[in-house]
């Protein structure tokens, strides 16, 4: 059983293994990413169940994007029969067809091969595993469990791009979510920008923020998990996030080109991180699997939910436990638009 600490929980292998449920809306995913020194990026998930409406707890699939240094993308999205998939309830060992994600802190292995794309990567964590105290409850009609086996890892191994296999190394991140209902506008959140595992010197910052929906008064919310060297040393939930300079894509979906996140918990975490979008490298219309009239209903009465992945410039100026943490550079983030 996970041991409670001042900031959350230390975790054991069972905490990042499968969390089975009979709920008709159940889903679970193991997420991983890596920025590699040769300019390639990988980001993806192993899925049990569908995290997006319509609910489907029986589906099993991988969804992995590879980007080259010019941000050309190769997306692998493939379903496998349930009988070819398995996940342990005792440890992290997820098998989806020939693809495997497995390991225990501090070491994980990611293997996937589909067509001309693939990877065989080892993640060696540089920070402790961690589970936040309160599950996220604002992104759907059920709470979303969250555990972060590694917010910062040294990554090494190979990736295969268009049939060409390359030795690579870089930095990566892995976390794991589960819930009894798909993510949707049924929660309280209007949007959520998440930047996972931003390394600044000895610090690793794992943060997200956004606003609540109109019926909750567009209240800002923001959370920061700050690691110094290998330990979580501060957690603040007194933050906010707000987008600006909105653009509209070809489907008429608006998204912010600038985002500000802030924390205001003196003595713990204070300050701002400003982000400026450079390029959208991924986009998903979350209604794309809806039938025509279901889609009409959702767009007429709910909104236009979407998922974006951005390359961005960041400018961080925060103070954690009285120590100033500043940095500027490039990174990338996820932006979830729930309505």
């Amino acid at each position: 059983m996970a041991r409670e600490t001042r900031w959350g929980y230390e975790i054991e292998p069972r905490d990042y293994a499968l969390h089975p449920s009979d709920a008709p809306g159940w889903w679970e995913w193991w997420y991983f990413d890596a920025d590699l020194e040769n300019g390639y990026t990988i980001a993806g998930t192993f899925h049990f169940g569908s995290p997006r409406p319509p609910a489907n707890p029986d589906v099993r699939f991988i969804e992995i994007a590879l980007y080259d240094p010019e941000d050309n993308k190769r997306m692998v999205r493939k379903r496998y029969p349930k009988e070819q998939c398995s996940a342990s309830e005792d440890t992290c060992k997820v098998v989806i067809g020939p693809n495997v994600f497995e390991g225990e802190i501090p070491r994980f292995r990611l293997f996937f091969q589909e067509g001309e794309q693939g990877c065989d990567l080892i993640y060696e964590s540089m920070v402790e595993g961690f589970m936040p105290r309160d599950p996220t409850s604002s992104v759907g009609s059920a709470v979303v469990g969250w555990v972060i086996p590694t917010a910062r890892a040294k990554v090494s191994g190979t990736i295969t791009w268009e049939g060409r296999t390359m030795e690579v190394k870089g930095d990566g991140y892995h976390d794991h979510n589960w819930s009894d209902a798909p993510m949707s506008g049924a929660g309280d959140s209007q949007d959520l920008l998440a930047l996972m595992g931003l390394p600044i010197g000895d610090w690793t910052l794992n943060f997200s923020g956004g606003r609540s929906q109109r019926k909750q008064g567009y209240k800002p919310y923001g959370v920061m998990y700050a690691y110094k060297k290998e330990k979580v040393v501060a957690v603040s939930e007194k933050g906010g996030g707000s987008g600006s300079d909105y653009a509209e894509n070809a489907l008429g979906i608006k998204y912010p080109q600038a985002y500000k996140l802030w924390w205001d918990e003196p003595g713990l975490v204070e300050g701002e991180i400003r982000l400026k979008l450079k390029q959208v490298i991924d986009f998903m219309d979350l209604h794309r699997r809806f039938k025509p009239f279901q889609r009409w209903f959702a767009e007429t009465y709910v909104g236009r939910p979407a998922y974006f992945r951005y390359r961005l410039d960041y400018d961080a100026d925060i103070t954690v436990l009285g120590e100033r943490v500043t940095g500027q550079g490039q990174s990338w983030c996820e932006y979830h638009k729930f309505v």
Binding site: K291, P292, F293, W296, F297, T300, Y301
Partner: protein, 162 residues
């Protein structure tokens, strides 16, 4: 057996209910303003008539067809009587719309693309049940569009998984 006369009378009853709800809402707004719970100053009698009209627009434009569709879907699921969703309530929607002095502004925007959407779905050739086909044909054949009926049909279609 539901008759034209009955649907007409029911549309009249619904209007009575909505008008009364509008008065209640506006009286509550006035009380809220008087008690400084909302800062909108005093509300004159002409203001109150305007607000009642807005309320009626919103209820007819955003609630009646949708609530009718949801309830009809439930009744249909219970009684398995297709006429509830293919004739009785759509006809009632026409009678309700016929009583309105003006079509609520939100309705054309909401329903404007439905004819094309329905035609596209019918043209896809996918096999579907009788109720869905009937509702799709109802929308596809509407000229001009009758917004309350179209919205009703569309909501039922979405509930049917179309």
């Amino acid at each position: 057996m539901v008759t034209d006369e009955l649907t007409g009378k029911m549309a009249e009853q619904l209007q009575v209910v909505v008008d009364r709800a509008g008065e209640v809402f506006v009286d509550l707004l006035e009380e809220g303003a008087r008690d400084s719970k909302i800062s909108i100053g005093s509300i004159s009698e002409p203001d109150k008539r305007y607000l009642e009209r807005l309320f009626s627009q919103v209820v007819y434009g955003q609630v009646v067809a949708e609530a009718a569709a949801i309830l009809s879907f439930l009744v249909h699921a219970e009684l398995h009587d297709d006429r509830v969703v293919t004739w009785t309530v759509p006809t009632f929607m026409d009678r309700c719309e016929g009583r309105l002095d003006e079509v609520p502004e939100s309705m054309p925007a909401k329903t404007g693309g439905l004819v094309e959407l329905a035609r596209g779905v019918l043209d896809s050739g996918v096999e579907r049940g009788e109720v869905a086909t009937c509702l799709l044909q109802d929308i596809a054949g509407m000229a001009p569009v009758r917004p309350m009926r179209a919205a009703f049909d569309a909501v039922v279609l979405s509930l049917l998984g179309e």
